[in-house]
């Protein structure tokens, strides 16, 4: 337990130190930079809002990798599920124009969840019945999803008056998700946190979750115990994809009010990494997403106060991810775990 907190903290500290060296090497004052990062990410109420608004979509998107990962599957097609989910939600919202707000919102959410869920479940189905590797097939399917999305929003579903990135017609104002009262972050944050907690409860305390974890530890044991492997694969992939589809829905309903290429900004990749930093533990996804949101939120101030280029925040992110992912190796070390590691398969 101490290890689960100490190692990530150590890794983040190391990453900060490395980033400080990098910043110093290009001529900025690392301590002033740290101060700015803190000020921009967590220094005030507004900074918290800024951080949390960026963290909100990442939580749901990370679940798309984290839930199938319980079974030992590595899904990286998150971005595709987000975009298809957003597109389905926007389409549903347009079809339901005129209906009462709850019906419209529910319809949109369902459409988004089903689209994202079916998309990733298809990856799971290919894996189970055809043995197609889910990592590569989800990546390929994501490329296909981008193409279908671009085709639809630039062609048949296009609102001819959209500026810049072509998009669908806007959804009914009544279907829009608003802000949490007194706090300028939309309800997507609450939905994200609730989803992470539910996923954690499901995996930790339900028989379904128990079955998933058995298969994840050793598929043979699962088979011998007579677990319905195929159904477990489909459901875990479907839930993961549904979460990402819901993230797309929220982006449409809370931020963009239409499906447009503005959805395509790389949230999917960040979500995968958030899931890895959280070691695929849904409850740990919450702080991991907030940490990444904080890094993102600091990007602006780094440009404005330190004359650093916009890519600085990408470098920072890259260093943090590399170091935190590498720190995974520390879990097997230290006095307590040494014995077990020696008997492990290394």
């Amino acid at each position: 337990m101490i290890r689960a907190i100490a190692i990530p903290l150590f890794a983040i500290g190391l990453a900060m130190a490395l980033f400080g060296l990098f910043v110093a090497a290009v001529g900025a004052d690392p301590f002033a930079v740290y101060a700015s990062i803190y000020r921009a990410a967590f220094g005030s109420m507004f900074s918290w809002e800024n951080t949390l608004v960026r963290a909100a979509p990442l939580m749901l998107i990370a679940l798309c990798t984290a839930i199938p990962a319980q079974m030992g599957l590595l899904v990286i097609g998150n971005e595709g599920a987000v975009m298809l989910g957003g597109l389905a939600a926007a389409s549903a919202g347009l079809l339901l124009t005129g209906f009462a707000a709850p019906i419209g919102m529910l319809g949109m959410a369902l459409a988004g969840i089903v689209a994202g869920g079916l998309f990733i479940a298809a990856v799971g189905a290919l894996r189970h019945w055809r043995g197609v590797n889910e990592t590569i097939s989800s990546l390929l399917m994501a490329f296909l999803a981008f193409a279908v999305f671009d085709h639809l929003v630039q062609g048949p579903l296009r609102d001819p008056s959209t500026f810049n990135y072509p998009g669908t017609y806007p959804i009914d104002d009544a279907f829009r998700i608003g802000m949490i009262p007194g706090f300028e972050v939309h309800w997507g944050l609450v939905i994200g946190i609730v989803a992470c907690v539910l996923a954690w409860l499901l995996i930790r305390y339900s028989t379904f979750g128990f079955a998933l974890r058995i298969c994840g530890n050793n598929l043979r044991v699962g088979q011998m115990a007579g677990l319905p492997i195929g159904r477990l694969v489909l459901i875990s992939c479907g839930l993961g994809g549904g979460a990402a589809g819901l993230a797309g829905t929220i982006e449409v309903a809370a931020v963009l009010d239409r499906a447009s290429s503005a959805l395509h900004v790389g949230y999917g990749w960040s979500g995968i990494l958030v899931s890895f930093i959280a070691r695929h533990n849904p409850i740990a996804i919450i702080p991991a997403a907030i940490a990444l949101g904080g890094i993102r939120a600091s990007g602006g101030l780094l440009q404005r106060s330190h004359d650093l280029p916009d890519a600085t925040v990408l470098v920072f992110e890259g260093i943090v991810f590399l170091v935190v992912l590498w720190s995974e190796t520390l879990y097997g070390r230290g006095p307590i775990f040494r014995l077990r590691a020696r008997h492990g398969n290394n």
């Binding site: 608004v53 630039q154 500026f163 810049n164 982006e251 101030l301 440009q303």
Partner: protein, 372 residues
């Protein structure tokens, strides 16, 4: 220049601090009024040789006004992030003016922020302000398509095959209008000229842009123009293929010493500087600004060495006609490329007519589709 502004900035901060120490409230307010903080937000890189560079150059000129401090962020996507960027500039840096320079920032992002911060003025490029929207917005755009019309005239004189090419990014009204104006300009030289278009599908996809130019050249197009984030790749590829090119947003002449004809440049600094002077004088600012040749918001680059004296004269004459109002590009009869009459004979749509803001057709002679 950069050093100078830094020194003065620091000096200013020192005087602000001293004043704040002596007379707490009043002088702090006065000092804050003295220094105007302006935030520039760009969707891409500031040195892209195109759209964002055009905006950044203008914002840099704003920074030269005394007592104005400019803060900038580049590569800001058109998501909730741009709202937080604006908010952060306002809340953390005290920005009173925001230049939100990408089309997609407007709805809903600028609209929401403008409603939330009524004492901050928002400049947005490419959006159309409508009655009922917050009044602390100036939506600006310039008829860069006037420049594309001039490009078209130069291209029309230059072409030997009678086939021109155009590489647009995505099918939105502003771009459809640019394609039509370019084509109508060329057809004013020779009505049989056609323009082949190839959509790239995104604002910045260099490989597709280069492929598009090569395909156009293979089809016998000998002049290409474009409208995308950066014309750099289009102009350079055209030069390598030995065909002529026209640019937009910034002056790309250095990239193609032989084949470059001209570039239609939007110069936003005129508006920015004038608006800040007005703000300081306490005068109201307009909600919509549509610039053109007359107010210097659209300029033509120097014509390239390949442009003939005849073409030069025709282009200058057209420019003069647009300036004095005797030439309106969208004067009937104009058909779309399916043969339907879109501008009947005897009808003229002036450059600021809402009809032109909603264009969803391509003029006769354009080979391609207004959707992809």
């Amino acid at each position: 220049m950069k050093n100078f502004s830094r020194i003065s900035r620091r000096g200013l901060m020192r005087s602000t601090a001293a004043a704040a120490a002596s007379l707490p409230l009043i002088s702090r307010l006065a000092a804050a009024e003295d220094e105007l903080v302006c935030g520039g937000i760009y969707v891409g890189a500031k040195d892209d040789y195109g759209y964002n560079q055009g905006q950044a150059v203008a914002v840099a000129k704003v920074a030269e006004i005394p007592n104005v401090r400019v803060i900038e962020e580049a590569m800001v996507p058109e998501t909730a992030e741009v709202q937080k960027t604006m908010q952060s500039m306002i809340e953390l840096d005290g920005a009173k003016v925001i230049f939100a320079t990408s089309y997609g920032y407007y709805d809903p992002h600028v609209l929401e922020m403008a409603a939330k911060y009524p004492d901050v003025h928002f400049f947005h490029c490419g959006g159309w302000w409508e009655e009922g929207q917050p009044t602390n917005i100036t939506a600006y755009w310039a008829n860069v398509d006037h420049g594309q019309y001039i490009n078209g005239i130069l291209a029309g004189h230059q072409t030997q095959t009678g086939k021109l090419g155009f590489v647009p990014a995505v099918p939105i009204p502003v771009l459809l209008r640019a394609i039509n104006s370019f084509t109508l300009g060329a057809q004013s030289v020779n009505p049989d000229i056609t323009t082949q278009i190839i959509w790239t599908g995104d604002w910045n996809v260099p490989v597709k842009e280069a492929e598009a130019v090569n395909s156009l050249a293979d089809q016998g197009c000998d002049v290409v123009s474009c409208d995308l984030d950066s014309p750099k790749v289009v102009v350079e590829t055209a030069e390598r293929r030995g065909i002529y090119s026209c640019g937009v947003y910034a002056d790309q002449s250095a990239l193609a010493p032989n084949g470059f004809l001209a570039s239609a440049i939007g110069d936003w600094s005129v508006l920015f500087i004038e608006s800040i002077e007005k703000m300081r004088a306490g005068e109201p600012l307009p909600n919509s600004v549509l610039g053109g040749f007359a107010d210097g918001m659209v300029k033509m680059s120097e014509y390239g060495p390949a442009v003939s004296a005849e073409a030069r004269a025709a282009a200058d004459a057209a420019r003069a006609g647009i300036l004095d109002g005797s030439l309106e590009i969208y004067t009937g009869e104009i058909k779309d490329n399916n043969g339907n009459v879109v501008v009947p004979a005897g009808t003229t749509y002036s450059y600021d007519d809402p009809f032109l803001e909603q264009i969803d057709w391509l003029a006769e002679g354009v080979i391609g589709s207004p959707t992809i």
